[in-house]
Symmetry: C2
Subunit: 292 residues, 2 copies
Amino acid sequence: MSLPSWNDGPTKSAIVDFVGHAVNLPPEDRVAVFDNDGTLWVEKPAYIQLDFLVRRLAVQAAADPTLATRQPYAAAAAGDLGWFGEAVTKHYNGDDSDLKVLAGGLLSAYQGLTVEEHAARVSAFFAEASHPTLGRPYTACGYAPMVELLRYLEANGFTCYIVSGGGRDFMRPVTTALYGIPPERVVGSSVGVTFTGGSLVTTGQPEFLNDGPVKPVRIWDRIGRRPIFAAGNSNGDIEMLQYTNGFRLLVRHDDAEREFDYTAGAEKALDLAETESWTVASIQNDWAHVFA
Amino acid sequence: MSLPSWNDGPTKSAIVDFVGHAVNLPPEDRVAVFDNDGTLWVEKPAYIQLDFLVRRLAVQAAADPTLATRQPYAAAAAGDLGWFGEAVTKHYNGDDSDLKVLAGGLLSAYQGLTVEEHAARVSAFFAEASHPTLGRPYTACGYAPMVELLRYLEANGFTCYIVSGGGRDFMRPVTTALYGIPPERVVGSSVGVTFTGGSLVTTGQPEFLNDGPVKPVRIWDRIGRRPIFAAGNSNGDIEMLQYTNGFRLLVRHDDAEREFDYTAGAEKALDLAETESWTVASIQNDWAHVFA
């Protein structure tokens, strides 16, 4: 039986109908792309990656008192996650000052590590860190219906990729265990790495911010094909969904009891879902279970 | 029977021995990377892609007389391929002036096309263009022993990628037919593309020059694993070979009769092959056939 965590209804039917037709296409054309934050795993009250980065900033502040008096280290040391949220809010209101301070801290947080050392830090974080309100480890914060959807598409000859604004090197160490998606099919944002002494070492330079119109560009670079299935949840997924020639799924976060209820950052995507006839998956109505 | 186009001898034995051990590794670790120009197909007397680009410059010069009087269009219109080779030679001697003029022309040669339109131009080129001295279509200029090696590695559970200084969007339309390597496993140089009106359109901006120390960086971005097998032929492959933790193969072009005999651009790589114990494949001695 397929998609047991999805309630019967128009959303599930639309997916099953589309896949039933898609199996007639050549296998190489059956490419599916999935956003991660808010589409495959929880993104509230803050991105999981922000927790990873703020912990690091706090460690840096504790090790170097000259850092501890300035942002973003002071906020990290004080556990003041509100400052980070506000930096983003100010950005959306046209004031980039705090966001620039934040970005500088985040970009240099893991500077100078080999990519293998960085991966080990990520794995250590996921081995112990838990969601602040859901009472479950981050590794159990993936959405069961979406993981089922990945398997369902694969069972029907699709190749699935993650295409996320989240960090490439933050996702890869856990995507195989959480989603069955291997590193070579994870596309994300990145800081630069440089080849030094036989190893790849993280720089503090931004490379890709894999969001909005950058997503189709990176899909072309990485896959070289136009997807026929895409799933997202926010305004940052709009261009990826528009680029997709086939089924477009938008996850709507409307279940305060089992997950979160919010539309901030998804307003335009939800409007487009209506005008462009994308399929909306309501967590409240369409998902029998949210988590495994 | 495996590798029939390879002569028996130490090179073939080294490959077979390595693969015999590698099959004990987890399949996901069996990653192999191959350079393209001079490793999988012919790169002399000029890169195949240069022929593609010069033809386009000549068309542009014919359509716009203001272009025809300046480089690189004048040389293209006159069929003066020597000018292009000299621009590269001057670059290696510290004079970048002509190379910059050339690069500007090449970058803008296909500006403003959708990626699908660009792919159609590439396919049209390969449908009709022939090698200037070997008397065979470019599509028959792949090295039979190397294509066999790709299949041999795959038969032993490897996943093979092309990692070339050549253009990503120049290679992808033909790599499946020539090498059995699909677009998503082709890593190359690129000009930027931008998402416009639902399509991806080529810009005139450089994006990646996938050569030298950039190759390991791009391997990490695209694959997220360190290869255990790499094949190259030139100085531009050195860092990719050094990054590879396993078998390093360097193709030596020493067969003027069946292909070409040259070391220019490979001097340092050939030296390192000796000091770092890479395996050298001599076309003259190790390949029973060069072409299919």
